[in-house]
Amino acid sequence: MGLVLLVVIWLITLVSTYFFVAKTWWLPPGASAAAAVIDRHFAITYVLMGIVFVAAQLILGYFVWKYRDRGAQPARYVHGNNTLEIVWTVLTAVLFIGLNLMSSSIWASERFRPAAPGALQVEVTGMQFAWYFRYSGPDGKFGATKPELIDPSAGGESAIGLDPSDAASKDDVVTGTMYVPVNREVEVILRAHDVIHSFFVPAMRFKQDAVPGLAIRMHFTPVSTGDYEIACAELCGMGHYKMHGMLKVVSQEEFDKWLAAREAEKQ
C-alpha cells in the first residue's frame, strides 16, 4: 500500500506539474504595459511555489512508503525538534513575505498613483447585461446623467441616462465597443447601474469591480494593437455569462478618425 501511495502521489504531482511547465493552458498574451511585469512576477511565484509543491508531495509519497510498518524496528520516539521548528518557520516566512513585498512594489506602481495627466478618459458603465463606453469629446467634460432617463432598451445614450439638457453632454459619444489608441494611458471611470459588475480585460491584466454608488478610477496602458475581449468578472445575474464586450486597440490616427466619425453621427 505504501508503494501504491507513493506511485499515485508522485504520478499526480508529476502529471500536474507537467501541464504547468508545458503551459498547455496558460495566461493569454499580455497587451498592456503592466502585463510584462505582472506575468514576470507570476512566473517567479509559480516557480517558487511549484518547487515547494513538488518537494512536499514527493516527500510525502516517499515517507509513506519508506516508513511503512515492516514489523521489526520500533518507531522513533521523538516529540519534536525546536531548532527545526524555528528554521522552517523562518524560511517559510521569508519566502512568503518576500514574495509579497516583491509584488507589492508592482501593486504600488499600478494602483497607488492616479492616472497620468493626458490619459484618455473613458467612462465604463456596467449594467445588466452590457457594457457601455462614454467618451467626453472635445470639451473634455462628461455630461450629466440622470437615473430617471435610463432606458436600457434604447441603447447608447439612453442606456446610460445621458441628460441632453446639459451642455457638456452634447459631444459625449456612447458606444458598445471600446476603442483606445495604442501606447497611451487610458483612465477608466467605472460605474454600475444596478448590481456589482467587474470590468475584466484578460489581455491587459486589468480587472476592477464596477460598484453602484461609486465611480472608480483606474488606469492601464495598452501597448499592442488588436481586438481584446472584455468579460464580466462579478456575478451580476442571469446574463452574467454573456455580458461581454470588445476592446479595440488601434493607432492614434485610427482612433481620432473613429471618434470623429462618432461625433459626426451625433449631428
Partner: protein
C-alpha cells in the same frame, strides 16, 4: 481549571423514543443527529454540482424530471450548492457532528456543559436546513446570487429570478444557522475550559480537542457578524432600508433605495467568511494530527508548535478578510495590508504540514482506512494551499480573481481536504460509535476513487484559471477565448461523474457496516486517547459511573521500554514517558 467529573443534570438514561432519539440531551446522540444532517446535505450538494457540471458541457440537454436547465437555474444550483456545502456540511459534520460526540469523551467529561442548549443548537440548525431547502420550492425558486450573496443583487428582488422569496428564505436560513452555531460555540468553549478531568491539562488535550476549541472561538466571534449582516440585508430587502443599496436602477426602473454601500456587506460578510474557512478546516487538521500519530505509532512531531500554529491561524484568520476584496473598490493601501497578513497566515499552515511530515518520518505506518484519508488530506491540503500565495498577492489577484483558479483553490481545501477529514473521522470513530468496523475493501475503493477523482476534477481548474476562465458562468458559449478550454471542462465533468459515483460506495459501507460490519473491540486502533477507554458504544454518561484520571499526554506511542507500543492517557503515572 481541570476539575473532577462534575454534576450535569442529565444522568438517568432517558426513556422513550422521543427523549432518546429526537429530543435527546445526550451529546453523542446530538452529534449523530448533526452528522446525519450533514450526510443528507452533502448528497444534496453533490447532486446540485452534478447538475451544474452536466449543464456546462451540455447546455441544451433535457434531463429526466428537470427538463432543460436554464442559465439562471444554473446560478441557483451554484448558490445553493455553495451555501449548503459550506454551512450544512463543512461547518456541521466536523464540529457539530464529531466535536459534539467526542470532545466531552476525550476530555473525560460526562456530557457537554449545557445539554439543553446543545439540543437547541441542533434543532435550530435543522430548521435552518429545512428553510434553506424551502427556497427551491417558492415562487421564483432558489436565489442566484452565489453563496456570498453580494448586494445589490441579493438585496433587490427585481435583480434576478429567485431573488424574491427564495432569497428571503436563504437569508433567514443563514440567520438561523448563525444562531445554532453561536449556541454550539458557547457549549464547546465552556466545556473545554471547565470540564476537563483531573490530569487533563490544556497541553495534554488531544489536538482534536484543541481544534474544536479554537474552531468554537472562531465561530463565536464570526457568526455574530454574519448574523448582523443578514439582519441588515433582511431589512434592506423587506423594510426599504438602504444599508447596502445605493441609488440604482434595475432594467431602467428605480428601486427606491439610496445611499447604501455594497462594500459594507462585503466587509461584514468576509469578516465572517474568512474565519469560516478556517472553521471548516481546523477540525480536519486536528484529526489529521491525531491520525498520523496513531497510525505511525509515534508521537505527533511538535505538539506545542501544532497548538501555537492553530492559535495563530485562528488569530490571523480575523485579520485577512480583505483578500477577498482586492478588486472590490477597496483602498489599495488596505489591500497591501491585508496581503501581508495573508502571506503571514500561510506560515502556520506550512508549519503544520512540516510537522505532519515529521510525524510520518521514522514511523511504523499502518495503512488503515482512516490513515489513507489522513495521508490524502495532507496531499490535498498542500495542493490547495500552494495556490493560496498566488491569490494573496493583489497584483496576481488582478488576473486570477473570479476565475476558476479561485474555484480550484477553495475546492481542493474545503471541498476535498476538509471532506477527507470527515471521511477519516468516520472510518476512525465508526467502531466506537456503532460497535462494528467499516468494510476495509470498500473503504479502499472509496479512498482511491475520491483521491484520484478529486485531483482530476480540481487540479485542471487551476489551468482554466490561468487561462483566465471566469467563474460562475452558466454557459461557456459566449466568450471566444473560452472555446479552447471546453475540452478541459468536459474532462472535469467526466471526472466528476466518476468521483460522485464513488461516494455511493461510502454511503453503502456506512449503513451496511452498522449491522453487518465485523464486530469492533473497545480499542481496535490501539490508540491512547480517552474515547478508547470506554465501552463500545459508550454508555450514557460516557465512562460507566467512573471518572478517568489522566497522567499522560495523548500521543505516547512507541515509548521505549513500555510493555506495548502505546501508553494510554489513563495509564498509571508510574509509567514514565516524556510528557
Amino acid at each position: 481549571m481541570a476539575t473532577p467529573e462534575s454534576h450535569v443534570h442529565v444522568h438517568a438514561a432517558p426513556q422513550g423514543f422521543l427523549r432518546k432519539w429526537v429530543f435527546s440531551l445526550d451529546h453523542k446522540v446530538i452529534g449523530l443527529q448533526y452528522y446525519f444532517l450533514a450526510l443528507t446535505a452533502v448528497f444534496v450538494g453533490m447532486f446540485l454540482s452534478l447538475l451544474m457540471r452536466i449543464h456546462l458541457i451540455w447546455p441544451n440537454v433535457s434531463l429526466p424530471l428537470f427538463g432543460e436547465i436554464k442559465p439562471e437555474t444554473y446560478l441557483s444550483l451554484l448558490t445553493m450548492h455553495g451555501t449548503i456545502m459550506v454551512f450544512f456540511v463543512l461547518t456541521t459534520a466536523p464540529q457539530g457532528g464529531f466535536g459534539n460526540y467526542f470532545l466531552p469523551i476525550q476530555i473525560g467529561a460526562a456530557d457537554m456543559a449545557f445539554p439543553v442548549l446543545n439540543m437547541l443548537s441542533f434543532w435550530i440548525t435543522c430548521v435552518g436546513y429545512l428553510v434553506m431547502l424551502g427556497a427551491f420550492f417558492v415562487t421564483g425558486g432558489a436565489p442566484l446570487h452565489g453563496w456570498t450573496g453580494y448586494p445589490p443583487l441579493s438585496a433587490v428582488p427585481s435583480a434576478g429570478p429567485g431573488e424574491g422569496a427564495g432569497a428571503d428564505l436563504w437569508v433567514i436560513s443563514i440567520a438561523l444557522f448563525c444562531l445554532g452555531a453561536l449556541l454550539s460555540a458557547l457549549n464547546f468553549i465552556t466545556t473545554t475550559l471547565d470540564m476537563r478531568v483531573k490530569g487533563m491539562s490544556m497541553m495534554r488535550m488531544p489536538l482534536t480537542c484543541w481544534a474544536w476549541f479554537i474552531t468554537a472561538i472562531l465561530g463565536l466571534l464570526a457568526f455574530g457578524v454574519l448574523l448582523a449582516a443578514g439582519i441588515l440585508l433582511l431589512l434592506d430587502r423587506n423594510l426599504g432600508t438602504s444599508f447596502f443599496v445605493p441609488l440604482i436602477t434595475v432594467n431602467g426602473q428605480m428601486v427606491g433605495h439610496k445611499g447604501g454601500s455594497p462594500l459594507l456587506w462585503q466587509h461584514l460578510f468576509w469578516f465572517f467568511g474568512h474565519p469560516e474557512v478556517y472553521i471548516a478546516i481546523l477540525p480536519a487538521m486536528g484529526l489529521c494530527s491525531q491520525l498520523v500519530s496513531v497510525f505511525s505509532r509515534k508521537p505527533i512531531f511538535g505538539y506545542k508548535a501544532m497548538v501555537y500554529a492553530m492559535l495563530s491561524i485562528g488569530i490571523l484568520g480575523f485579520m485577512v478578510w480583505g483578500h477577498h476584496m482586492f478588486m472590490s473598490g477597496m483602498s489599495p493601501y488596505s489591500a497591501f495590508a491585508f496581503s501581508i497578513m495573508t502571506m503571514a497566515i500561510g506560515v502556520p499552515s506550512a508549519i503544520k504540514t512540516f510537522n505532519w511530515l515529521g510525524t510520518l518520518w521514522g514511523g511504523r505506518i499502518r495503512f488503515s482506512s482512516p490513515m489513507l484519508f489522513a495521508i490524502g488530506f495532507v496531499s490535498l491540503f498542500v495542493s490547495g494551499g500552494i495556490s493560496g500565495p498566488f491569490l494573496a498577492q493583489p497584483v496576481l489577484d488582478i488576473p486570477l480573481h473570479d476565475t476558476y483558479f479561485v474555484t480550484g483553490h477553495f475546492h481542493l481545501i474545503m471541498g476535498v481536504a476538509s471532506i477527507f477529514g470527515i471521511f477519516a473521522a468516520t472510518y476512525y470513530w465508526f467502531p466506537k460509535m456503532f460497535g462494528h468496523m467499516m468494510n476495509e475493501t470498500l473503504a479502499r475503493w472509496h479512498f482511491w476513487v475520491s483521491f484520484v477523482g478529486a485531483y482530476a476534477i480540481f487540479m485542471p481548474m487551476h489551468y482554466l484559471g490561468m487561462a483566465m476562465h471566469p467563474r460562475r458562468y452558466s454557459q461557456l458559449t459566449e466568450l471566444n477565448y473560452l472555446h479552447n478550454l471546453l475540452p478541459l471542462q468536459k474532462f472535469i465533468t467526466y471526472a466528476a461523474f466518476i468521483t460522485i459515483a464513488g461516494q455511493f460506495i461510502f454511503l453503502f459501507n456506512l449503513f451496511w457496516s452498522m449491522k453487518y460490519g465485523e464486530k469492533a473491540s473497545d480499542n481496535p486502533w490501539e490508540a491512547t486517547t480517552l474515547e478508547w477507554t470506554t465501552a463500545t458504544p459508550p454508555p450514557h454518561d460516557n465512562f460507566g459511573g467512573r471518572t478517568p484520571v489522566v497522567s499522560h499526554g495523548p500521543y505516547e506511542y512507541g515509548v521505549p521500554g513500555a510493555a506495548s507500543d502505546y501508553v494510554m492517557q489513563t495509564a498509571p503515572a508510574a509509567v514514565t514517558t516524556g510528557v
